[in-house]
């Protein structure tokens, strides 16, 4: 065996190696910040950056859940509609309870939101896993269902939150704690929790295993159905948290709330370095991805180069370039 030991001595452990692939999204983020500063000096102002990061909080929170779903080999197109639906029933519940519970209606409503999120996620999960339906189609179906339900609840219009609750609820989006906007804190907590679960618990390992190779997972005694369903439930919880932060920002839920967020969420996850075909999720990359998307949108508003009609094209080009940079920096 001498030969073997000889030949393998130089190979060291990977642990402390710097990985370009993992750094990709953060490099892209840095590049964008520099670009932004060159375009408009105000870009790096504390207010602007804090606004942008606060705003990216919803997508970031939802995308943490999506990182679970995607790394377990699933996909969820329904998150945008689900935000609208959950925001809708939360507001309705709060409004109904406001006379009896007073301001306590707000925490009660939040609890309802989380419950609803868990149930919606469970429904998605069961359709995909027990129903064995391609996630793309299953969640496209539930996307239509949630969207229709919110349309029905709002009678095609808007559900505004009760005036009496409005002011008390506002700080959840607009407030700060130690100078940091509350949505940023919430998304940081969600991300830390997400990273903990995905990287440090048995469930996280199962998730990655199921996404990497279903057969191997099954043979290792991992229940594919359970693991993937739980990923959808986590996604539901994240959507609920996002909805809770969302409601005070605009004070209402409408039929258009959350439209196309699903695409943003998936883009954030993929830009963050998680592979769509499943296997291993990157929570921090996802967060970077969500911020990148908001930054691009912000840059579009702050710069005056681009015709209003072409904003979408420039965004598309920037995203593709960001992915290319990431790919070839490896």
């Amino acid at each position: 065996m001498t030969a073997l030991t000889q030949s393998t001595a130089p190979r060291s452990e990977r642990r402390y190696q710097f990985s370009w692939a993992d750094a990709g999204p953060f490099l892209a983020l840095g590049a964008l910040l520099v670009l932004g500063f060159l375009i408009n000096q105000d870009f790096l102002s504390a207010t602007n950056l804090s606004n942008v990061i606060t705003r990216s909080a919803y997508v970031a929170i939802i995308a943490v859940g999506a990182t679970f779903v995607i790394s377990s080999g699933g996909l969820d197109l329904s998150v945008g509609s689900m935000v609208a639906f959950i925001a809708g029933i939360t507001i309705m519940f709060m409004n109904v309870m406001a006379p009896t519970l007073g301001l306590w209606a707000i925490p009660a409503g939040m609890a309802i939101a989380v419950l609803a999120g868990l149930l919606c996620g469970l429904a998605n999960g069961l359709i995909v896993t027990v129903g064995k339906i391609e996630p793309f189609i299953a969640t496209l179906g539930t996307m239509g269902i949630f969207r229709a339900l919110i349309t029905y609840l709002t009678n095609g219009g808007t559900i505004p939150i009760d005036k009496s609750l409005r002011e008390a609820y506002r700080p959840v989006y607009f407030g700060t704690l130690g100078g940091v906007p509350i949505p940023i804190l919430i998304s940081a907590v969600v991300a830390v929790l997400g990273a903990f679960v995905l990287y440090k618990t048995k469930y996280g390992r199962k998730c990655a295993a199921v996404g990497a190779n279903e057969d191997v997972a099954r043979y290792s005694g991992i229940s594919v159905i359970k693991t993937r369903t739980i990923a959808y439930v986590i996604q539901g919880a994240c959507v609920a948290i996002a909805a809770i932060c969302y409601v005070p920002r605009l004070g209402a839920a409408t039929v258009t709330t959350g439209q196309l967020w699903e695409l943003q969420v998936i883009t954030a996850v993929v830009i963050g370095g998680t592979a769509l075909r499943g296997g291993k999720g990157r929570i921090w990359g996802t967060i970077a991805g969500a911020v990148i998307l908001e930054l691009i949108a912000n840059l579009m508003v702050l710069s005056d180069f681009v015709s209003e009609y072409l904003v979408a094209a420039v965004q598309g080009v920037i995203i593709i370039i960001a992915m290319l940079v990431q790919r070839f920096s490896k």
Binding site: M1, T2, A3, L4, T5, Q6, S7, T8, R11, S12, E13, R14, R15, K200, T201, K202, G204, R205, K206, A208, A209, G211, A212, N213, D215, V216, A217, R218, Y219, S220, G221, I222, A275, G279, K280
Partner: protein
């Protein structure tokens, strides 16, 4: 630990109670019977070999014992109690572990992740990566496998993956450990270490089921040998009384000719393929060689010597640089297509990952690299494809139950034969075969050797990469030995002995001895 305690207790009470018993088990897929009415007792502390031709049903039987599939009929019992396994982890919990014939690991995860999949070590609810890495590294070191525990599976060689699989099965204490052709992808040193570990298991009172087409291993290991033929049990024999020839005869059910064909003097001095200064970054440095018309050139080496990478680099399948001369014409090959068009055929060692579309039927698999010849006009000629399949099935003796089967449903050895047929359909003039007889039974090995010889008789050149030194010595005109990505020597004629090859493959400066067994 409790399992071991139980084993000890049982041994004390009734040493002869079978730890695992299969009674009258059968397995049918639709109308196809793969295994019929097999009854077998496995005793603790016993090494029990199962042998049989490709497609005899060995793997099916093992999968059935370890919960991967459920029998259509029949029952299993452990220590006298009837058991039923709906899932492999239930069998594992009951103390039965299987090392699969095909590699079953998650590519995108690390070695450690794979070892502990579904049974991670935790500390206060948190997975304890540091400890798992240590345990994994220790277990791998015990097996003589030196891959870093943090490597991704997709980055390590096939042999290393096999070692990881074995480590995975040995991580916990089991009552029965089943090895389904564990040595097919291993070389000498690893095999020796594995055999030592198996003896150690036996000494601890653990029952071992062992499948191999390498009958010398069976002969060394087995206390008992059970022969399967066409899904039925032929009989169980005490191991040490059987010679390899006896075993082969029992498997095949008829007399066998010699394993290796008589060497023919087809080798010419006309160079066919010359490779100059091949470099494959990270794997191979500065390798040059020439293969002549009508020659069978062997490539030997330890695992990790870089043989596979050398040829993949030459053929444009991975980044690498080499100057090639084919029939005296210098050329560069950038892709497998160019290689094929130039007349170089390559058969990969990884039949499952790179060789066959497991979900696809046999015909499309067979013709995939030679589509042009089934496609004279616009339309694919199905009849011609069906013909080719029938011909391949008969000339390579592919055993299957239905021509409509998917490639993944073939037994391991038969997949290998299909792959060989696929490569030869491209009518190459230089054939490079990486591990030609991996998982092939003894009768068919002879057939494949004959086939290789036919190729060179037709004036082709053949390069055989193999980890079975005996096989190389048996068929090659000349053998190049690689070590750590370089050529460490060459043997031919009188110096072509297993011990010389082993010497060149392992030590820095080898003094070759002449003569010896052939």
């Amino acid at each position: 630990m409790s399992i071991v305690a139980r084993i000890d207790r049982e041994r004390g009470v009734a040493p002869a109670t079978p730890v695992l018993r299969a009674e009258g088990v059968s397995k049918r897929y639709g109308t196809v019977t793969v295994l019929s009415d097999v009854t077998l007792d496995i005793l603790p502390g016993e090494i029990h070999a199962i042998i049989g031709e490709n497609g005899a049903g060995k793997s099916t039987f093992m999968r059935l014992l370890s919960g991967y599939i459920e029998p259509t009929e029949g029952t299993l019992a452990m220590a006298g109690h009837q058991v039923r396994f709906a899932r492999p982890d239930q069998a594992q919990a009951a103390g039965i572990a299987l090392v699969h014939q095909e590699i079953l690991l998650a590519d995108a995860l690390t070695v450690t992740d794979n070892l502990f999949l579904g049974r991670e070590l935790t500390k206060g609810g948190i997975v304890d990566d540091a400890r798992m890495r240590l345990v994994a590294a220790a277990k791998l070191a015990e097996l003589g496998c030196e891959v870093p525990a943090t490597s991704l599976i997709r980055d390590i060689s096939l042999a290393d993956r096999q070692m990881v699989q074995i480590a995975r099965a040995l991580l916990d204490e089991h009552r029965v450990v089943i090895f389904d052709e564990p040595t097919a992808v291993l070389t000498g040193g690893e095999v020796e270490r594995l055999l030592a570990i198996i003896f150690e298991l036996k000494a601890r009172g653990i029952a071992v089921l062992y499948i191999s087409h390498r009958l010398d291993e069976v002969q060394r290991l087995a206390d008992k040998v059970t022969v399967l033929r066409d899904g039925k049990m032929v009989g169980t024999h005490p191991g040490h009384t059987l010679s390899q020839i006896d075993m082969a005869r029992l498997m095949v059910g008829r007399e066998l000719n010699a394993l290796y064909p008589q060497k023919q003097a087809t080798r010419t001095s006309e160079p066919m393929l010359s490779v100059l200064n091949a470099v494959v970054p990270g794997f191979v440095q500065d390798v040059s060689f020439t293969v002549h018309k009508g020659e069978i050139l062997g490539f030997a080496g330890m695992i990790g010597a870089g043989r596979t990478e050398l040829f993949e680099g030459i053929l444009g399948l991975r980044p690498g640089m080499a100057t090639i001369e084919l029939n005296g014409v210098p050329m560069r090959v950038h892709s497998q297509r160019e290689a094929m068009d130039a007349g170089i055929g390559y058969l990969t060692e990884d039949r499952k990952g790179k060789g066959l579309l497991l979900q696809e039927r046999l015909g499309p698999n067979l013709t995939l690299s030679a589509l042009a010849s089934f496609h004279p006009g616009l339309v694919l000629k199905r009849a011609r494809e069906a013909d080719a399949l029938t011909r391949a099935v008969s000339s390579f003796d592919i055993r299957l139950k239905s021509l409509a089967a998917k490639a993944g449903q073939l037994s391991g050895g038969n997949q290998q034969k299909l792959l060989l047929a696929k490569v030869l359909l491209t009518a190459p003039s230089v054939v490079i075969i990486d591990e030609p007889t991996r998982g092939i039974d003894i009768a068919n090995k002879a057939q494949i050797y004959g086939f290789i010889q036919d190729l060179v008789k037709q004036g082709k050149a053949c390069i055989v990469i193999s980890s079975e030194m005996q096989e190389l010595v048996g068929i090659c005109d000349r053998i190049i030995v690689m070590r750590e990505g370089r050529i460490s020597g060459e043997v031919s004629g009188e110096t072509m002995t297993e011990s010389n090859i082993a010497l060149l493959a392992t030590s820095e400066r080898a003094q070759l001895a002449e003569g010896g067994t052939k």
